[in-house]
Symmetry: C2
Subunit: 229 residues, 2 copies
DNA sequence: GATGAAGATTAGTCTAGACAAATAAAAAAG
DNA sequence: CTTTTTTATTTGTCTAGACTAATCTTCATC
């Protein structure tokens, strides 16, 4: 009896729908996965999911697993849009390092008014990607789908373009940045050792050796000679 | 047992210390004045003041009236600094109208990290005033004192420079803006009618007629021929 | 099909901050 | 001085959202 008009979700609700969006992979997301993602206890999740269901933002499935309704997804996309625009702003306008802006955007996304967000968006001339390469949903919540694969899955010898990079470890991201591993960079899989554990990747001409586990957050678009999976 | 380290006050506490700062006029501020200012009930104020006293941010006086301690004032100045820098940013960088940025700054002042605030401050090359002419405290909380008088008190015939303008009525501020009544503008009191109720003021050469009540938020610095009060 | 381990839910607390209603205390007015 | 009016405080609720401990389900495995 309060909401309705302004349609503004509480901060916590915004976090939940965004989490559902982030964790979506076709299947409903389990309570424990959400709890882990939001660093919150499972009972809190069960609890909040029940409210979100009552508010028609999520649909509940087997064992409490949840998935966004259309309305829920719309709300999630609004939050995602804000987040990405803010990250772009923090990097491009304020000159902050892209490896550390996530947490600031995480807070601001809930508190910046539409007026301010629009002004920021205008100032940057409506960017289409954030600094990590994520596409920014338009104001209607439309988000072009694109199919990316993890860099670690690139077959030896193949070239590709880096499209997205996200990692919660700031140091690692900085290292990648310095090595030229940023969205748009050309890469080539040079060699694979130890049953896929260690990779040699050529980044903008330079050789780079890494454990494949640490590369989880790097996604690429394979170049023409289309190797289907 | 939680605070201490980060020293971050809750949003509500920040609002209270800022209110105390805004309402300060030498005397302790009454419970009801704070309640009015924050649009909150008197019991809520009594309540919160008790906590703030326990936390040594305010000192309580006769009839519950409060005044900031040194530490409280320091915190208030931090909030004021943030607020003013943000207002300047919203106007100068994002191009928003100065008559409407107050509420955005009011929210953001509580959520922008030091890192982001510093970046914004740097981007603007450390402005000394916000768009309404208020001085911005430096990072150590130092704020030059300046003595201003209400425009309505300017004697007939005298000239002055507008220094500060604040008014919660956005339309009115826009009107003033269009008329050239902005910080830095030269004014001259042309005539006073109806026992001070109606004023004729010359703003940048143009004549302007207003009720004195509506001019409450305009403060000036009188020019040389020093008319003491 | 019984059982132990995961995972989810219930029940009951806690926190910050606000509120209204009732009461108390001070100032102002007679 | 007493009464009225204004202000402040006490008491008891409410809300959102989180938590822990205890319990209940479901799945996987013998």
């Amino acid at each position: 009896m309060k909401r309705a008009a302004a349609s503004a979700l509480t901060r916590s609700r915004q976090d939940y729908v965004k989490a559902l969006f982030d964790l979506d992979s076709g299947e409903p997301v389990s309570v424990s996965a959400i709890a882990r993602h939001l660093e919150v206890s499972p009972p809190s999740v069960t609890n909040m999911l029940a409210r979100l269901e009552a508010e028609k933002l999520v649909a509940l499935h087997h064992r409490g697993a949840a998935r966004l309704t259309h309305e829920g997804e719309r709300e999630a996309l609004r939050v995602v849009r804000r987040h990405r625009i803010l990250e772009a702003f923090l990097v491009r306008v304020l000159g902050l390092d892209s490896s550390v802006v996530h947490e600031d955007a995480e807070v601001l996304e809930h508190h910046v008014s539409d007026r301010v967000l629009d002004a920021i968006d205008r100032l940057m001339e409506h960017p289409s990607e954030d600094p990590h390469g994520h596409l920014i949903p338009d104001r209607f919540g439309r988000l072009p789908r694109r199919v990316l694969i993890p860099l670690a899955d690139l077959p030896v010898g193949r070239r590709a373009v880096v499209r997205e990079i996200h990692d919660r470890n700031a140091r690692r991201m900085q290292r990648w940045q310095r090595a030229g591993l940023i969205p748009g960079a050309q890469v080539r899989m040079h060699a694979v050792h130890d049953d896929g554990e260690v990779l040699e990747v050529e980044v903008q001409g330079q050789r780079m050796v890494t454990g494949s586990g640490t590369l989880e957050g790097v996604f690429i678009e394979a170049l023409n000679p289309g190797a289907r999976k």
